[in-house]
Symmetry: C2
Subunit: 316 residues, 2 copies
């Protein structure tokens, strides 16, 4: 995730910390971006994002193969390009590995990164390789974007939509932490999330006014849209699409989904979900709407719900 200056993020101590950094940076920092920094170069616009994955914070080596570590780190950075409707140009990776980490594993990890890049038409352009106590993968994704869709475009009356089915990563993570084998569908959402690049283009073509990828969790990310747009997001809990066995509370708070939350106009055609599903083999689900006010409200048949807990990385 990449944060602009004067960052209109949702509530939370993590976001307070990021706001404070940018405030103190003053004129040494310049935010023009959203999930990505947007850099103008001649007549072109470049979207750039950087995402760091650290062993022990984001994954354990007993949970992910080297190839999956590379895929997942790449997907996280590429998902930030999807979040502004950019088209990927390439990725660079800085890789820290412990002394004695097998050469083959380094190659596998880079191959996993190369595979997710290739899956969205990009390639690995370069990188850095250093020694580190624990595995660290930092991926930079570069994309081209003519008309970035930012978080700030939502207005009262718009509708909220989410791609895919949520809850897989947190379900897989809970099972892995408990020493259990996760269900294959949930595990796949954790090990090989797919950056929704083409889906973002499609949504842009259907008039998406705001867009964000779900990296902090649906509740928090809807909060970022609300803060950036100066509106309130209202989500109907019963409409949030879930994978099998997922709990809606956990799904709302679980991060690193890398699905998209899109804000579409109120008058979006009723065929939209069906068209999307036929195109991508993936649901697009209306989950709520935009109102006057601030923050995120989660309702169940009109009754305001309180979410329990907040998203966290696991602690090693």
């Amino acid at each position: 995730m990449t944060r602009p200056n004067l960052v209109p993020l949702g509530l939370g101590p993590e976001f307070d910390r990021i706001r404070e950094i940018w405030r103190k940076l003053g004129d040494k920092g310049k935010g023009g971006g959203d999930d990505c920094a947007i850099v103008e170069l001649g007549a072109e616009k470049l979207a750039v994002s950087t995402d760091m994955a650290v062993e022990g914070t984001h994954f354990r080596t007993s949970w992910l193969s080297p190839s999956e570590i590379g895929w997942r780190a790449g997907a996280a950075a590429l998902s930030d390009l999807a979040a502004v409707a950019a088209l990927p140009l390439g990725v660079l990776a800085s890789l820290g590995v412990p002394e004695g980490y097998p050469e083959d594993s380094v190659v596998e990890l880079m191959d996993g990164l190369g595979s997710v890049a290739q899956s969205v038409g990009a390639t690995v352009l370069g990188g850095d390789l250093v020694r580190s106590d624990r595995i660290v993968v930092d991926v930079v994704a570069l994309g081209q974007v003519n008309h970035p869709i930012l978080r700030s475009g939502a207005s009262v009356g718009d509708t909220l939509w989410v791609t895919g089915r949520l809850g897989g990563p947190v379900l897989a993570l809970n099972e892995l932490e408990a020493g259990n084998e996760p269900a294959p569908a949930a595990l796949l959402r954790f090990t090989r999330p797919e950056p929704r690049i083409s889906e973002a283009q499609w949504l842009g073509g259907r008039g998406a006014k705001a867009l964000i990828d779900l990296s902090d969790g649906l509740a928090a990310d809807a909060g970022h849209v609300a803060a950036a747009s100066g509106v309130a997001c209202v989500i109907e809990a019963a409409r949030v699409p879930l994978i099998e066995d997922a709990d809606v509370n956990a799904a709302m708070l679980g991060g690193e989904e890398y699905e998209l939350l899109a804000v579409l106009p109120a008058d979006v055609p009723s065929s939209t979900s069906g068209d999307f599903a036929r195109e991508f083999g993936l649901p697009l689900t209306g989950i709520g709407h935009v109102e006057e006010g601030a923050g995120v409200r989660v309702t169940n048949a009109g009754v305001l719900l309180k979410l329990n807990g907040g998203y966290r990385h696991f602690e090693s």
Copy 2:
């Protein structure tokens, strides 16, 4: 440092490893770059580099203030832009910090990064903040470059030049490891290296045919130029400019200098060094020439010298 595909690097197991990664990546990796990846975007060319600094590998917190950690990490990435004669647009930083790392230190670190960016006309565009056992700073530098000066442009008869005075970082590092206080000049070269952005532009204007920044050490980096250009680099040890108390052997092998090695035509005017020194208050020293053959030869009054040891990061 950023490595292109089919990487023509000098000798050494570190470089063998990088070559092997790129070979196995096959068509998932695409190198068009040198110290930087060069990405074409419409009519423009973008130079991108990523550099990771890890506590315990590249620095200790007892040696560098948070601001210096940020400056140094930024300087390393920006130096890669200098190495291809690109003009900086901005930097992004992914930052991993331990639980309980003071908020003020995070701000100071980012301020150090912002300061080195500002010193070369760039700003901090975004970043990522995650938890990590040890401090990890990965900096991405973005630059614009019309005519990148690559490592591959040296030809027989050309002359080799180096900016500044070498040996400071390795001298400082040795003293710090021994628990001594380094001399201020050497310490400053370690804590606040300056990316030679303007110097690279100047050298480009004087017809520089190849360029590299000294990150792996003069001997290794001259080896990269030799390999990429298909020539031999001959360096006269006695002409290598040193800071006070530096040893020429250590200076040839010591990495992370972030000075430039430039290949200029044989007929460069005799006023070149003087002009450069007046412009930048920094020496530009002729240290050798380019011959037919391969690799790097270091001579002393025509006698071939053997360098002892190789560049290493310190081990914590």
